[in-house]
Amino acid sequence: MFKWFVKWFHRFGSPPYFYRLAGLWLPWLTGLFTILLIGGLYGGLVLAPTDYQQGESYRIIFVHVPAAWMSMFIYMVMATCGIVVLVWRMKLAEVVLSCAAPIGASFTFLALITGSLWGKPMWGTYWVWDARLTSELILLFLYLGVIGLYGAIDDKRVAARAVAILAIVGMVNIPIIHYSVEWWNSLHQGATVTKFDKPSIAWSMLWPLLVMALAFKVYFVISLFQRVRAELLHRERNTRWVEELVKS
């Protein structure tokens, strides 16, 4: 079993194999994403009841919360890839690491934008220095640092290793930053309007949220696969398998 896994792992890491496999998976993933998205949106925007405190405007939660979850999840993906890059020097992990960063930054940005749009009707202002908003903003800076560093180094294999180190350093720091910011917030503001305690959420609101979270995850995989495929073609443009692919 283990031997089989190791063999599969190595094959999965080879660019031509991954390119073909990802190409086979993409239509299925797109179908799954469509179903999940339609289901989640219908459940969230139509079936879920109106919130007694926040009215209709709480419905942005179905985009906001999955985006915020993804922003953290993708950083973890990047850091994991970073470890794989440093330990096994796997080319595929290098590519995944570099391709995941812009997607993660986009999700972080989306979470910030939807958060501030939600803040306007709820708190009366687009931006408050709330703990979560602030640490999300810092996360965005961390992503931009990764993207900037990757873009600044010309040799992309060296760049990937630099970014791997940075992603791992960032992963160690994210919890520290998050809790520092949370503490900073409680120290400076005391009880705030921003921290509305979420009562245990009703099932009719929870299931669309979870479905949407799943849809976002599938979307991330789709987007990642497409980017990785393009990047692989670019990186391996002088190899035989790309040549054969282009000719066929």
């Binding site: 440093l86 810092i138 961390l142 600044a152 520092s180 400076h188």
Partner: protein, 227 residues
């Protein structure tokens, strides 16, 4: 040829870096000057009202310290990188993280420690509560080494780049956030007569965490940059 023990190598490198810094006095004064200058800008920008200045003094002093430390970071490895010393260092038989630690220590002694000398003066000029002076010095003592240690990772990652400056600040400043939060809030609390043991414990934790982990990351980044 005589073989150096690890601790000898550490001390030699530390002494060499300090000596080099002392021979180049103008560079020694630059971060300090920058620190004072940035702080001078604040009363000009927000107005000289004593209450306001006293209120924001901890934050101003720490933001200025952060920027001063960041500007001086590049000097940790730059000249050694350019004349090839760094390459020899990586090739030596000694573990690189220890050598990195020596260099960072030297850098902190010349750029971080002098902030201690001017900080009380600036705090006085900003009208910070006198009870907070001790804590201010303590946070600088505990916080600036963390800045140098975290910063060394960023420098090591960007040393090979021609225009690494802006990227360096993008990499390093977000990681400085916890130090900023806890040091400023410790001074704030001290000025308000509250207990600061929690903040100081956290800063101590940051110091030991970065002392143990960041040289390893810096060494890995240096090897990557030199490859």
């Amino acid at each position: 040829m005589k073989r150096l023990s690890l601790s000898q190598a550490f001390w030699f490198l530390l002494r060499r870096d300090l000596l080099l810094a002392l021979r180049n006095r103008s560079e020694l004064a630059n971060p300090l000057l920058f620190f004072v200058l940035v702080i001078t800008l604040f009363p000009l920008a927000v107005g000289a009202e004593p209450n306001l200045l006293a209120r924001i003094a901890p934050g101003i002093i720490w933001v200025a310290a952060l920027l001063a430390s960041m500007l001086s970071l590049d000097a940790i490895f730059r000249s050694d990188f350019e004349d090839g010393t760094l390459e020899q260092m990586l090739l030596s038989a000694h573990p690189v993280p220890v050598l990195v630690l020596a260099k960072v220590t030297a850098h902190w002694l010349v750029t971080g420690l002098p902030l201690l000398l001017v900080a009380p003066l600036l705090a006085m000029m900003l009208g910070l509560d006198e009870d907070a002076y001790g804590i201010l010095l303590l946070t600088i003592l505990l916080g600036t080494p963390v800045l140098s240690l975290i910063g060394s990772i960023g420098v090591a990652l960007t040393i090979g780049l021609r225009k690494g400056g802006i990227i360096l600040s993008l990499l390093v400043l977000p990681l400085y956030v916890p130090v900023l939060i806890f040091s400023a809030s410790a001074i704030d609390a001290a000025a308000g007569g509250l207990s600061v043991s929690a903040q100081l414990s956290m800063m101590m934790a940051f110091l030991f965490l970065s002392l143990s982990l960041s040289p390893v990351a810096t060494a890995a980044a240096l090897k990557m940059s030199m490859s």
